[in-house]
């Protein structure tokens, strides 16, 4: 079963303001993009499970011309809170790489 790392050439995460994180999934081909564009494997529950976010607020926008999907979710805690470990959310993508996508 392919994992996200097998079908994306690049995955990145970053703050989108202090209260949101945005994750960009760049697929390795148009074929992969079309196949996974609407996959339930990248549904809001995945983000609730991995990041403790509110599944109802997760936003997902496919960008056809770039063969990528952008998924944004509210941070469980605002940027810079007392137990912050990733101020810019730049390493949050890593836990997604091993997720099964099929």
């Amino acid at each position: 079963m392919p994992k996200i790392r097998d079908v994306c050439r690049h995955v990145r995460s970053k703050n989108a303001g202090p209260f949101w994180v945005t994750v960009d999934f760049f697929f390795d081909s148009e074929e992969s993009f079309k196949r996974y564009r609407d996959t339930a494997a990248l549904g809001p529950e995945l983000f609730a499970h991995l990041f403790g976010t509110d599944a109802k607020l997760v936003k997902r926008v496919p960008v056809d011309r770039l063969h990528m999907i952008k998924i944004s979710y509210p941070r469980a805690h605002p940027q810079g809170w007392m137990r912050e470990r990733d101020m810019h959310a730049g390493q949050q993508f890593a836990r997604l790489l091993e997720v099964d996508i099929d």
């Binding site: 970053k14 303001g17 202090p18 209260f19 770039l66 810079g80 007392m82 470990r85």
Partner: protein
């Protein structure tokens, strides 16, 4: 300097947009290091203005809460010296948004004082407009009671106490105060907190460019060279027409490709197609990106939907204080049982603090095992082999710096010597520093994620003038 032949080639051999308004965006952030030859190139192309952002929330809430700049004074002065001298020579205005990183009133004044110093050294006498958008809790409490403040997800309705807890609150300005200042004769406009796009869109909007094209161009150019193929090679020139814009790198060896330009909309945005700005929404879902030549990309199809005027609010407060310590561990017994070690250490140190300072003391203790799961803090999958080395960071958070320091000192011997299990000979881990404890300072938090409805772009903004010609 550019070769004249090359410059003429570039300036004539291209398909132009009718009535295009040209803005030099020399860097994504004032103080990032602007190149004089890049600014020369933009001016040689007929730039109408130089515009640059000087702020960011991305580095965290501490800059807004403290009202100090992240970028150092020398870097700001260097860039202002280049930009002010070139703008003066060309007779075009210079616009700077979100002065002093967070755009507080103090950040504007700090930047204005540097600009005055630079003007004195250059022997020029510009007319400087300062735009202030810092807000008092009292004013916003009044607005909130009138139902004029709305939350943005994930936050809920605003309370008076949230507003009162903020050290500083700023409202994000739109382009209107910049346009008014330029119309009133400003050579330099130094703005408080402004949307990254508004400071770049102001002159194109003022000179009649299309609103969709102007806002979209500004969004693309907001981080300077970030929308180019090689972001380290300087900023860009925006050329904004009625229903299209071109974006071109200021460096002749760099390119703005349809991919690099369109991909910029993804950067630090939660929605890549719709962006809310003061007074409207930019919709780029129908935008088309094409090469003009091998350096320049043209964008068409951007739409601007006017909406009732809103300004986003940002506020930050100071919270508790932290002290940290670090140890390195290479002991293979500990490395083979890191989760057990973490839990034992957490128990031992928590007990130590509680016994020393009493059960009622308020504190938070966090241990992070870098090399194991320090970055995420999440459980490590079963069967993961032990690392070669871990760094353990101790973070204690307490109501005062003194208390946090004393808690770290109380934990010092235990952090240094706690064995993996009871009955093992006392280990000593590797402290890299002495004293081992490092006072880290205050924890700062962003408090607001709300918008305030205003009559227009001026209601919450104050403009003050410094005319150096009058003072001279």
């Amino acid at each position: 300097m550019l070769g004249l032949q090359r410059m003429i080639e570039i300036m004539t051999d291209r398909d132009r947009l009718p009535g295009e308004i040209k803005i030099v965006v020399p860097t994504g952030m004032l103080g990032g290091g602007v190149h004089r030859n890049h600014v020369h190139y933009g001016i040689a192309c007929g730039a109408h203005a130089i515009a640059v952002d000087s702020g960011s929330t991305d580095s965290g809430p501490s800059y807004l809460a403290r009202g100090v700049s992240k970028t150092n004074r020398e870097s700001i002065k260097h860039d202002l010296e280049v930009l002010m001298s070139e703008a003066n020579r060309a007779g075009i205005p210079l616009l700077v948004g979100t002065c002093g990183t967070s755009g507080t009133d103090a950040g504007v004044d700090w930047t204005r004082d540097i600009a005055i110093e630079v003007a004195g050294e250059l022997g020029i006498t510009p007319k400087i407009a300062c735009l202030y958008s810092e807000q008092t809790p009292a004013e916003l409490i009044r607005k909130n009671r009138q139902g004029k403040i709305a939350p943005l997800p994930p936050l809920g309705p605003l309370t008076d106490s949230a507003l009162e807890s903020c050290e500083h609150i700023v409202a994000l300005m739109g382009p209107e105060p910049y346009m008014a200042a330029i119309a009133a004769g400003a050579d330099i406009v130094l703005g408080g907190r402004t949307t990254d796009t508004a400071v770049l869109a102001a002159i194109p909007l003022m000179k009649g460019a299309g609103a969709g094209a102007a806002w979209h161009a500004a969004k693309i150019a907001e981080c300077g060279g970030q929308c180019t193929v090689n972001p380290r090679r300087g900023g860009v020139l925006m050329r904004v027409g009625e229903d299209a814009f071109d974006v071109e790198p200021l460096d002749l060896g760099n390119q703005c490709s349809p991919e690099s330009v369109s991909a910029h909309l993804l950067y630090e945005n939660s929605d890549p197609f719709r962006l809310t700005e003061p007074g409207g929404v930019l919709d780029v879902s129908g935008a088309d990106y094409r090469w003009v030549d091998n350096r320049i990309t043209r964008v068409t199809g951007s739409k601007w939907e006017p909406m009732p005027y809103t300004m986003k609010l940002e506020g930050a407060r100071g919270g508790d204080f932290q002290t940290i310590m670090l140890i390195g561990i290479e002991d293979p017994e500990v490395l083979a049982n890191l989760d057990e070690f973490h839990d034992r250490m957490q128990r031992v140190l928590t007990d130590r603090i509680t016994k020393t300072f009493g059960p009622a003391v308020h504190f938070d203790l966090s241990l992070r095992l870098y090399g194991w799961n320090g970055t995420s803090g999440r459980p490590v999958p079963a069967g993961t082999p032990p690392p070669r080395d871990v760094g353990v960071m101790f973070v204690v958070t307490a109501p005062t710096q003194d208390l946090a320091n004393r808690m770290a000192k109380a934990c010092n011997p235990y952090f240094f010597h706690t064995p993996l299990r009871e009955g093992i000979e006392m280990p000593s881990y590797a402290f890299p520093f002495t004293p081992a404890e490092i006072p880290r300072g205050q924890v700062y938090e962003f408090v607001l994620n709300h918008v305030v409805h205003t009559h227009d772009g001026f209601e919450l903004v104050r403009t003050e003038w410094t005319d150096l010609a009058e003072k001279a």
